[in-house]
């Protein structure tokens, strides 16, 4: 139990009803990924559960990659944002199973990635597509399918580096896992 949990009351006197949970979700919609600041933690699909227990809010988060350096930062951002919204001692819990998959990125998240210049993951994360690799990635800049992979790994663990052969622009592709 964290310090202050027993006697600190919720600043807004929240009781964990449906409206409070909804408010928490609204707050989470505004917590952005530090490396791709246009997508929220909700867009990424890493928030797995929001619930109320013993007078406090619990948020369950599934990390994207094992070694993602943003994991702790994201957890702190979530806590800070919720605290700011009046939740006292919100808890962020980590859950590994089931493992995060790019299939959980929302439609809105995919559109935002694309608008930001990052090609969203193509297809589903089944084993076959992982092993054989992606065949066709659409250029987020000009929409051409005539692209090639420059490097299996890009600027962060979750991306690989591509180049468009039509507009000649290099771009990041969000890998499918």
């Amino acid at each position: 139990m964290q310090a202050g949990e027993l006697i600190t009351t919720d600043q807004q006197g929240r009781s964990g009803n449906e409206a409070d949970i909804q408010l928490a979700y609204d707050v989470l919609e505004e917590v952005m990924d530090p490396e791709v600041p246009v997508v929220s933690v909700m867009d990424l699909g890493i928030v797995r559960d929001v619930s109320w227990a013993n007078g406090h809010l619990n948020v369950v988060v599934t990390p994207t990659y094992s070694g993602c350096p943003a994991t702790e930062y994201i957890e702190t951002s979530i806590r800070d944002a919720l605290h700011e919204a009046g939740f006292s001692h919100p808890k962020v819990l980590q859950r590994l199973d089931p493992a995060w998959t790019t299939d959980w990125i929302t439609e809105q998240g995919r559109n935002r990635l694309k608008a930001y210049g990052i090609a969203p993951p193509v297809g589903s994360s089944n084993k076959r597509s992982l092993l054989s690799g992606v065949t066709q990635v659409e250029c987020p800049n000009c929409g051409s399918d005539d692209t090639e992979q420059l490097s299996e790994f890009g600027s962060t663990a979750c991306k690989s580096l591509y180049r468009c052969k039509s507009c000649l622009e290099p771009f990041d592709y969000f890998k499918c896992i």
Partner: protein, 253 residues
């Protein structure tokens, strides 16, 4: 109660192998043959450090004497490390690094595929998560082995040399272990009897495409990471990796 038992040993073997391999990959920072490859190696290393942390956190909870993942990584001596001999070997040239990566990736891939169905839920969860990352690693290293083996005369020769340097350490990837046998008998992990054959099959398949010859089965020798008898290279690696935490305990920034 302190549980430094067979399961903990097994967790350390997984964590140590990932961490030491990642540390070796870091040595390429600033000197990889191409920027893309440097990013690739650092990304793979990052995944492995994350995986090591997951295994260490579980191990630390079981040991339960106040230790934590950091202490396991930075405050144990050479003889306490359980990593594969293979991963502590020096990087050599790019051919040695990629061959080492490929042997390790193939081992991890098949091992994690088995472990993701472990009855121990924590092991199953970490394995399933890691497997997604390792699948990418294996794809990349297989492609490099193929490209270098079936490349120029020089790249082919360098690959043959690399295999010659590393092959003898692969006995650990295919040997039977009492620890793992006991763990599978007690039901916490699945039987790993298929692992040696699966590893060999992947090596055979990729080497065939790479026009490389698979050497005869390696024989066991007196070194064994299972007992902490490492090659001379691990101590030097640890001296560098652990320096900061040894000199300034609990330093943080």
């Amino acid at each position: 109660m302190t549980k430094y038992d067979e399961l903990t040993e097994f967790l350390l073997r997984l964590g140590d192998s990932s961490l030491i391999h990642a540390q070796r990959l870091c040595e390429w920072t600033g000197r990889a043959p191409a920027l893309e490859e440097e990013m690739g190696m650092m990304n793979v290393g990052l995944d492995l450090v994350g995986q090591a942390r997951n295994w260490y956190e579980y191990a630390a909870e079981r040991i339960n004497d106040g230790t934590d993942a950091d202490a396991l990584a930075f405050r144990r001596d050479e003889r306490a490390f359980r990593n594969l001999l293979l991963v502590e070997q020096p990087n050599g040239d790019f051919a040695v690094t990629m061959t080492k990566q490929f042997f390790f990736d193939a081992w991890q891939f098949h091992l994690l595929t088995l472990l993701k169905d472990a009855k121990d839920e924590r092991i199953a969860a970490i394995a399933a998560k890691s497997l997604k990352e390792v699948t990418y690693h294996l794809r990349r290293s297989s492609q490099w082995v193929e490209r270098l083996g079936d490349g120029t005369e020089e790249s082919h020769q360098r690959m043959e040399k690399a295999i010659d340097v590393l092959w003898r350490f692969t006995f650990e990837l295919v040997e039977k272990s009492d620890t793992e046998l006991a763990l599978s008998e007690s039901g916490s992990i699945p039987a790993l009897t298929e692992l040696p054959e699966q590893w060999r099959a992947t090596v055979n398949e990729v080497f065939a495409k790479a026009t490389l010859t698979v050497p005869d089965a390696p024989s066991t020798f007196y070194l064994s990471a299972r007992t902490g008898m490492h090659s001379e290279h691990l101590g030097i690696l640890l001296a560098e990796m652990q320096f900061l935490q040894r000199a300034y305990p609990d330093a943080s920034w």
